[in-house]
C-alpha cells in the first residue's frame, strides 16, 4: 500500500500505460534486483551499439484527448465509402456488417488474447472450431483451416499444398485472376514453383478451357481459377475438373463465400482444394485490413497433412459430455518441426475467422440465400441499366455474374480515369480501373453491387455516368 501523498509520489511523471514508471516503485525494484540504475541492466550492450541520442520522433500527444484530436485530424482527410456512393470491388467489398459482429470482435477476451492453451482459452478454440464448421457447411468440405492472411495468401498456400501432394512443381493459373493475387502467388512460389498462365477469353471473361487442356501435362501440380472470376463471371467447373483430374493434377478454386447461399460450392463440381477471402462475411473494409483467407479440403489424410496452418479439432474430456478442443496433426507445422514443417505458421487473421463464424450464425441458410440472390438481382438490374447508356458496353454481358462485372467505355472516347474523376466530383466512387492490369479489355472498369446498394443508388450512378460519358 502506498503511503505517500500524490504530491510526492512522482505521479506527475508516470505514464498511464506503464504502471512501474512511478519513480519510487522503480527504486524499490532496483533495490530488490541489486542494481544501482536501470542503465546497469543494459550492461551487456556495448557502448558502440548504444544509441547516444534520443530517438528523433515527433513530439507525443500529452493526453488521451490530445491524441484523439491529432489522429482524428489525420482521419478527417479520408472520405469513407459510406459518405460517397461506392461501386468498388475487386476483392474487397462494401457489405453491411451486423452489429453483433463488431460487438464480439471488440470483446477484450477475444481482442487481446493470443496463444493460450485449450483450457484457459477454451472459448477461442471453440469459436474457431465453429467458424471452420460453419464454413465447412457453406463449402460442403470437412476440413477448413484457421484463417490465413488474405485470399491471395490462401491461394498461394493452396497451390503449394497441391504441389506437395502431387510432388509436381508447375502451377497453372487462370489469366482472369486478379493481379494482386497472381503476384502474391508467384512471389510465394518463386523458389521452386513454375507458374504458367492459362488464357481467358476477353469476349466472355471466362477461362479458355481449350487452352487449359493444351497446358495440362504430367508436370502440372494443379490449376487455380477463381469462380466467380476477378471480373465477376461464373463458369461451369465440370469440364475444367475433368480435364485437370485426367492430367493427375488437383483443381484449386477460389470462391467468394458470400455467393454460396445460392451458388454451388466448388467441391460439388470437383475442386480438390477450395480457398478464398472472408472479408465479405462480417468484416469492415478497413482499407484492406479486413481481409482474411480460408482453405478447405475433404478429410483425406494425405491432403490434411499438407496444411501449414493450425487445424483445431474436437475431442472428449475426462468429464462425459464436455467438449474439448486442440491442435490436429501438429507435427505438420513449423511450430513443431521448424524448417521441416509445411511452409510456416504464425499470427494471421484469427479474429476475422471468429467474426466470420458470428456472421454465418446470424445469417443462417436463409440469410445467405437472400443475400446471394439479392446481390445477383442487383447486378442483373445494374447490367441492364448501364448497358442502356450510350457509349457504355458490357463485354461479358452474356455470362452469369456475382457481385461485379466489367463495364467498358471505349465507345465513349473517354478513359476510365477521366470518367472516375468526374464521378468523384459527384460524390461517386466509380468502378476500379482495369485498363493497366488488363489491357485486352480496353478502357474498362470493374463495378461492384452488393446488398447495400438500393435501386436509387444504381439510378444515381446511371444518371451520373450518362453525363460523364457524354462530356
Amino acid at each position: 500500500m502506498t503511503t505517500s501523498s500524490p504530491m510526492d509520489s512522482g505521479a506527475a511523471g508516470a505514464q498511464p500505460y506503464i504502471p512501474n514508471s512511478v519513480p519510487a516503485v522503480k527504486a524499490e525494484m532496483l533495490r530488490v534486483i541489486g542494481a544501482r540504475s536501470i542503465d546497469e541492466l543494459y550492461a551487456d550492450i556495448p557502448p558502440e551499439l548504444r544509441l547516444s541520442r534520443p530517438l528523433d520522433l515527433p513530439a507525443p500527444c500529452r493526453s488521451e484527448h490530445q491524441l484523439k484530436r491529432h489522429v482524428e485530424s489525420l482521419l478527417a482527410r479520408n472520405v469513407p465509402a459510406g459518405e460517397a456512393l461506392s461501386f468498388l470491388g475487386g476483392g474487397c467489398y462494401q457489405h453491411h456488417v451486423p452489429a453483433v459482429c463488431d460487438e464480439i470482435n471488440g470483446r477484450s477476451e477475444f481482442l487481446t488474447a493470443y496463444a493460450g492453451e485449450p483450457y484457459d482459452d477454451a472459448g477461442r478454440f471453440q469459436a474457431l472450431f465453429e467458424y471452420a464448421s460453419m464454413m465447412g457447411e457453406l463449402l460442403e468440405m470437412d476440413v477448413v483451416s484457421v484463417p490465413t492472411f488474405d485470399g491471395c495468401q490462401a491461394a498461394a498456400t493452396a497451390v503449394r499444398m497441391a504441389a506437395r501432394h502431387t510432388r509436381r512443381n508447375v502451377v497453372l493459373v487462370a489469366g482472369n485472376v486478379g493481379r494482386d493475387k497472381a503476384t502474391v502467388m508467384a512471389n510465394y512460389g518463386r523458389a521452386d514453383l513454375e507458374f504458367r498462365e492459362v488464357r481467358f477469353d476477353p469476349a466472355t471473361g471466362l477461362v479458355d478451357v481449350g487452352h487449359l487442356g493444351r497446358m495440362l501435362d504430367h508436370e502440372v501440380a494443379g490449376f487455380y481459377f477463381d469462380n466467380p472470376s476477378y471480373f465477376g463471371t461464373l463458369q461451369s467447373g465440370l469440364d475444367i475438373a475433368a480435364a485437370v483430374h485426367a492430367a493427375g493434377a488437383l483443381l484449386v478454386v477460389g470462391v467468394d463465400p458470400g455467393s454460396l447461399g445460392v451458388i454451388a460450392p466448388p467441391g460439388s463440381y470437383g475442386a480438390d482444394i477450395v480457398c478464398g477471402d472472408l472479408q465479405a462475411l462480417g468484416m469492415h473494409m478497413n482499407y484492406g485490413g479486413g481481409q482474411a483467407g480460408f482453405i478447405a479440403t475433404q478429410d483425406d489424410e494425405a491432403l490434411v497433412m499438407q496444411y501449414p496452418s493450425r487445424l483445431f479439432g474436437i475431442a472428449p474430456t475426462r468429464v462425459p459430455g464436455e467438449y474439448g478442443f486442440g491442435d490436429v496433426a501438429y507435427s505438420r507445422t513449423s511450430f513443431d518441426k521448424r524448417e521441416n514443417g509445411n511452409e510456416y505458421v504464425g499470427t494471421a487473421a484469427a479474429l476475422w475467422g471468429i467474426t466470420a463464424g458470428v456472421y454465418l450464425a446470424l445469417m443462417g441458410p436463409t440469410g445467405m440465400r437472400e443475400i446471394g440472390a439479392g446481390i445477383m438481382q442487383r447486378n442483373a438490374y445494374a447490367q441492364k441499366r448501364l448497358a442502356s447508356i450510350p457509349g457504355v458496353t458490357l463485354p461479358h454481358a452474356g455470362q452469369a455474374h456475382f457481385k461485379e462485372f466489367v463495364v467498358n467505355f471505349d465507345r465513349s472516347g473517354r478513359t476510365v480515369g477521366e470518367i472516375n474523376r468526374g464521378l468523384r466530383e459527384r460524390g461517386i466512387f466509380g468502378g476500379h480501373d482495369l485498363s493497366a492490369a488488363f489491357p485486352t479489355l480496353g478502357q474498362s472498369a470493374l463495378y461492384s453491387f452488393t446488398e447495400v446498394h438500393t435501386q436509387s443508388d444504381i439510378e444515381r450512378l446511371v444518371e451520373a455516368l450518362t453525363g460523364e460519358v457524354a462530356r
Partner: protein, 538 residues
C-alpha cells in the same frame, strides 16, 4: 450491543501480502452452435430487393450453368440474434485476454497493454469504411499515417526504407527472405549462395521461411554460457552463405554483445544479415539494427508497438532494409509530394506483393497512435521498464524451489528469460506443461517454449512494461504455489485443470485420422461411421 463488523479485507492478506486469488473461470458448458439451432429463427435481416429491381432482373439463378446452382441450402445453424450474441459472449468468457490476466507467462509474445483509445480511433468509420482501391485523393489521411509510421520504423531501426505490407511477423520474415532472393537474383548469386544460418533460439519461422524460399538451413546451438556460438558461426560460413537470420536477445533474453562481430563475419563471407526483431520491446531507443550491422529487420506491430494480438491476427509485420535493398521492397509505396500523398507502383526489381492491397492498414493506425501517445522518451521508458520488470522477475522466480535460470550466470537480461523446471521435474515427476495447466487454475497463461526444448522443462516469461509490481508478485506467487503443490500434492497438479471451463482433454483424437474432426460435420460423419462399425462387429 451492536453486531460485530467483520474486517473483510483482513482475510485477504497474510503478513501484509495479498493471498492468492480464489479464481474460477466461467464454465458455461456451452453447446456447439449447431446444437442451438432452431429451424426458422433468424439472426439478422438482409436488405430487400425493390420490386422494380426484382422484376427487371428476372431470375439470375436461371442463367447459371447447371452445375453452379446450389442443390440444397447450406446446413448453417438458425438462431435469433440475442441467442447468437449470448453464445459468443459465453465463449468469450471462457477466454483470457491480456486485458484480463497478468499475461506475462506467454514469453516472446510481448503481451502488453493495447490502449483502448487506439481501438476506438481505429473503429472510426473514417478508417473502417475505406475501400483499398479508393482514389488517393480520398484516402490522404491513412496514406499520411502509413507514411508517418514508416518514418517511425526507420528511426527505431536506423534502416533506410520500410514496408508495412506484411500481415504478421512471420509474414515479414518471409518478405525479407523474398527480398534476399530478389537481391541474389539481381546479383546473379541465387544458385551459388543457397544457405541460411540461424540459431535454435530464433523463431521457428526464421528457419521455415528460409526453407520456403529455397535455402538450406544451418542451425547453430548456443555455447555453454547460452550465447550464440561465434566459433560455430565461423565454421558454418562459406561461399554458399546467403544470409544470417538471428534474434538478439534470443528467447533466453541474453543480449549477444558480440553481435557486430557476427554481422561483420557474415558480410566478410559475402552474406547478408537479417535481424528478427519481432519483439524489440527492451531495446526501443537503446540500440538499433543499423549500428549492429544488419541489412534487414522486422518488427511485429502487435508485439513491440502495442496493437492487439486478436487471438492471432489481423496484424502487421513491419520490414526495414538498407538503401541498397530498398528497390526490392513490396509495392505500391506511399510517396509524399509536398503536402499530398500518392501510391507509386512497385518497380521492376520489387518482389511485387506479399499481401492484398496495402496490408493491414487499420493495425498501422493503432501502432501510430501508440507511438504518438509515448514519443521518444516514452518509447525509451517502455524499454527500460520492460527490462526492469524482467530482471525483477528473474530475481524473484529463481527463489522458487525447483526452478532455475540456465546460462549466462550473473548477467542481466533484456526483456524476457527462459527458465527451467528440470530440478522440479526430476524431483516430482511434474513437467513444465503440467505446471502451465495448473497455473491456468489461478487465471494466468503460461507457455513453455518453441520446439525443440533446448532448455529442459522450459518456461518463458516476459513481463513487458504493462504490469505493476503487485501484478508481477502475483504471478510469482502463482508459480510458487504450483511448485509447492508439485512437491506436496503432485496428483492435484497432474489432474489439473480444476478451475477452467473444461477438464483434461483426450489428446489422442488429434493425431488419429479416424477420429480427428476439424469440423462439426466431420465429427458427426465419423461418429456415424464408428457407430456403424460397432454395430457391424456386434
Amino acid at each position: 450491543m451492536s453486531a460485530g463488523m467483520q474486517d473483510i479485507s483482513g482475510f485477504r492478506f497474510t503478513d501484509g501480502r495479498p493471498n492468492l486469488r480464489r479464481y474460477h473461470q466461467a464454465r458455461w458448458d456451452e453447446p456447439v452452435i449447431f446444437e442451438l439451432s432452431c429451424p426458422g429463427e433468424r439472426g439478422v435481416l438482409v436488405p430487400e430487393v425493390e420490386d422494380q429491381v426484382a422484376a427487371a432482373a428476372g431470375d439470375p439463378l436461371a442463367a447459371l450453368p447447371p452445375d453452379l446452382r446450389r442443390a440444397e441450402p447450406p446446413r448453417l445453424p438458425e438462431l435469433s440474434q440475442n441467442r447468437v450474441l449470448r453464445h459468443y459472449l459465453r465463449l468469450s468468457q471462457q477466454n483470457l485476454g491480456a486485458d484480463l490476466n497478468v499475461d506475462i507467462g506467454q514469453g516472446t509474445c510481448t503481451m502488453k497493454y493495447n490502449p483502448k483509445i487506439n481501438e476506438q480511433l481505429a473503429r472510426s468509420p473514417r478508417m473502417t469504411e475505406l475501400h483499398p482501391l479508393q482514389d488517393a485523393d480520398t484516402v490522404q489521411g491513412i496514406l499520411d499515417v502509413i507514411h508517418r509510421m514508416e518514418a517511425v520504423v526507420r528511426e527505431v531501426s536506423g534502416m533506410d526504407a520500410v514496408s508495412l505490407q506484411p500481415r504478421s511477423g512471420s509474414h515479414a520474415i518471409y518478405a525479407n527472405f523474398a527480398i534476399l532472393r530478389a537481391h541474389q537474383e539481381a546479383a546473379g548469386t541465387a544458385g551459388e549462395r543457397d544457405e541460411v544460418i540461424t540459431t535454435i533460439f530464433s523463431h521457428p519461422s526464421d528457419a521455415a521461411c528460409a526453407k520456403l524460399l529455397g535455402y538450406r538451413v544451418i542451425t547453430l546451438y548456443p555455447d555453454a554460457a547460452g550465447y550464440p556460438d561465434v566459433e560455430a558461426l565461423r565454421a558454418a560460413l562459406s561461399p554458399r552463405t546467403a544470409a544470417l537470420i538471428i534474434t538478439n536477445p534470443e528467447d533466453t533474453g541474453i543480449f549477444n554483445s558480440r553481435i557486430r562481430e557476427f554481422t561483420d563475419l557474415v558480410h566478410a563471407a559475402g552474406g547478408l544479415c537479417i535481424y528478427d526483431q519481432a519483439n524489440a520491446n527492451g531495446l526501443l531507443g537503446i540500440t538499433r539494427a543499423r549500428e549492429a550491422g544488419f541489412d534487414m529487420c522486422h518488427f511485429n506491430l502487435h508485439k513491440t508497438f502495442g496493437t492487439p494480438h486478436a487471438c492471432g491476427g489481423p496484424a502487421v509485420g513491419a520490414i526495414a532494409v538498407t538503401g541498397e535493398l530498398a528497390r526490392h521492397l513490396p509495392g505500391p509505396r506511399v510517396v509524399a509530394d509536398g503536402g499530398r500523398f500518392r501510391l507509386e507502383a512497385a518497380g521492376a526489381e520489387s518482389i511485387g506483393k506479399v499481401a492484398a492491397f496495402m496490408g493491414t492498414a487499420s493495425i498501422v493506425l493503432r501502432a501510430y497512435a501508440w507511438v504518438m501517445s509515448l514519443g521518444a522518451e516514452g518509447l525509451r521508458e517502455v524499454a527500460e521498464v520492460a527490462v526492469l520488470n524482467n530482471n525483477y522477475m528473474m530475481t524473484e522466480l529463481v527463489k522458487i524451489r525447483g526452478m532455475s535460470l540456465p546460462y549466462a550466470q550473473g548477467r542481466r537480461r533484456i526483456e524476457q528469460a527462459r527458465y527451467s523446471w528440470k530440478q522440479l521435474a526430476d524431483e516430482t515427476g511434474i513437467h513444465s506443461d503440467q505446471i502451465g495447466i495448473r497455473a491456468a487454475d489461478f487465471g494466468v497463461h503460461y507457455w513453455t517454449s518453441h520446439h525443440p526444448f533446448v532448455v529442459p522443462e522450459p518456461a518463458t516469461v516476459e513481463p513487458t512494461e504493462s504490469y505493476s509490481k503487485a501484478d508481477l508478485d502475483e504471478f510469482v506467487d502463482v508459480m510458487r504455489q504450483v511448485a509447492k503443490e508439485a512437491y506436496e500434492n503432485p496428483e492435484h497438479v497432474r489432474s489439473a485443470p480444476h478451475n477452467c471451463p473444461v477438464h483434461a482433454i483426450d489428446g489422442s483424437y488429434f493425431d488419429d485420422p479416424d477420429r480427428w474432426a476439424i469440423t462439426w460435420r466431420a465429427y458427426r460423419r465419423k461418429l456415424r461411421a464408428h457407430r456403424a462399425g460397432e454395430a457391424g462387429t456386434k
